[in-house]
Amino acid sequence: MSEKLIELNNVTMQFGGVRALDEVNLHVNKGEICALIGPNGAGKTTIFNVITGVYQLTSGSISFQGSDLKGLKRNIITKRGIARTFQNVRLFGDMTALENVITASDVHKKSGLLGALFGTPRSRREERESKARAHELLEFLGIDHRADQLGKNLPYGDQRRLEIARALGTEPKLLLLDEPAAGFNPAEKKALAETILKIRDRGYTVLLIEHDMSLIMGISDRVIVLDFGQKIADDLPRNVQNDPKVIAAYLGVPADAS
């Protein structure tokens, strides 16, 4: 049995008359790449939002590394080790690529304003370390040559890569990727798949939302399928692909069968 990193228990999220998540139970094991799929409006991004504390649960609980996330502030959840990217790229556009990553890595830094003002040894050391580490992460994502360019001036693909680098900057234990391949061509998708595998090999756990099935099938250890706010499958990629319930959720059932 592998160790559970995060676990959602009976998570329900209600907006007005609509249940976006309905008693969802799911978990992600340490060290795996887990994919979250499902038709539009199935509640995938809502899962990311409840995990990162953007929404308060209507009911249910989320435990991360054995402790409940309930009531924690969003920045504390990040500090505990959960980082994410966004469906529509949301970089700090007026900062350079390097600064974007360093800002994220500041979450574990200790030096404060006085340190910055007087350039205390600790502050200088932390700045040095952050910078080195940020360069290293940019290098890892293959965009270190963009380090000094502003976020908003980066080409689209590099913006997506920078978002991943920024999320990794917070030293997450769990990395949430929201449609990282959106708008990518096949070659870029292939490169991204390799990057995600490398991220896992570095010891990070990945939960990703993605629509490109071939990408998911190629890299995920497990696939969780949501439909209509409910979990309808949770299995190996190959099994999920042939699960009649999943096919029905995606392609619909013939009219006469309903």
């Binding site: 539009n40 099935m213 692909q241 619909g252």
Partner: protein, 239 residues
């Protein structure tokens, strides 16, 4: 009323969401655009209804290029969109929502009762809930309201964005039956749908979209068992 899209390109921020697609919707047809999420279906509809700006290409409605006509005037021309998801006005009653559908119609007052009866005929549920706030309806009822509201404008072409989204199977079948019925009353329909089975059974013709491109056009019935469809959704190696 023929709707023709010619080499349409749309940018969404930096992303080219639609990469030069062309297709035709003939009068009286139900045409469906199918494809996985992110293929550009919704963007295509929003561009036709004027919510998104065209980067290049043309939208010909009855032979006229309408790509620079503001969204609110396209409604007057006869193009109505029923938006994706819960695009109703939550703080208004069902009746008020329906009235909004006729906002700009010339014969608004005269036609109102007639059209309300028509919509209530299609969706008796809405009549029962006429004085309830839209936001308190269930997902399926909200979808009915969105479709009913777009019918109030007496559109020549109706754009339907994922009418089955988030609905239970029973409700999905119901909605699609009604879509056929609307079409039989003479409304041309462009349907964007993820639920390919239903869409293909109801439509005359279909286009498959993949990442902003049309990859296949065919008679809807012919696509029903085409592996290309399944591939578009579930990827290669599905079987």
């Amino acid at each position: 009323m023929r709707l023709e899209i010619k080499d349409l390109r749309v940018h969404y921020g930096k992303i080219e969401a639609i990469k030069g697609i062309s297709f035709v919707v003939n009068e009286g047809e139900i045409v469906t655009l199918i494809g996985a999420n992110g293929a550009g279906k919704t963007t295509t509809l929003k561009t036709i209804s004027g919510l998104r700006k065209v980067s290049s290409g043309q939208i010909l409605f009855d032979g006229e290029d309408i790509s620079n006509v503001p969204a609110h005037e396209r409604v007057d021309l006869g193009i109505s969109q029923s938006p994706e998801g819960r695009g109703i006005f939550p703080g208004m009653t069902v009746l008020e929502n329906l009235e909004m559908g006729k906002y700009n119609r010339k014969n608004r007052k005269i036609e109102m009762n007639e059209d309300l009866e028509m919509v209530y005929g299609l969706f008796p549920r809405l009549k029962e809930r006429a004085f309830q706030a839209g936001g308190t309806l269930s997902g399926g009822e909200q979808q009915m309201l969105a479709i009913g509201r777009s019918l109030m404008a007496r559109p020549k072409v109706l754009l339907l964005d994922e009418p089955s989204m988030g609905l239970a199977p029973q409700m999905i079948a119901n909605i699609f039956r009604i879509i056929t019925q609307i079409n039989k009353q003479g409304v041309t329909i462009l349907l964007v749908e993820q639920n390919a089975q239903q869409a293909l059974q109801r439509a005359h013709r279909a286009y498959i979209l993949e990442t902003g491109n049309v990859v296949k056009e065919a008679k809807a019935a012919d696509l029903l068992n085409d592996p290309a469809v399944r591939e578009a959704y579930l990827g290669t190696g599905a079987h």
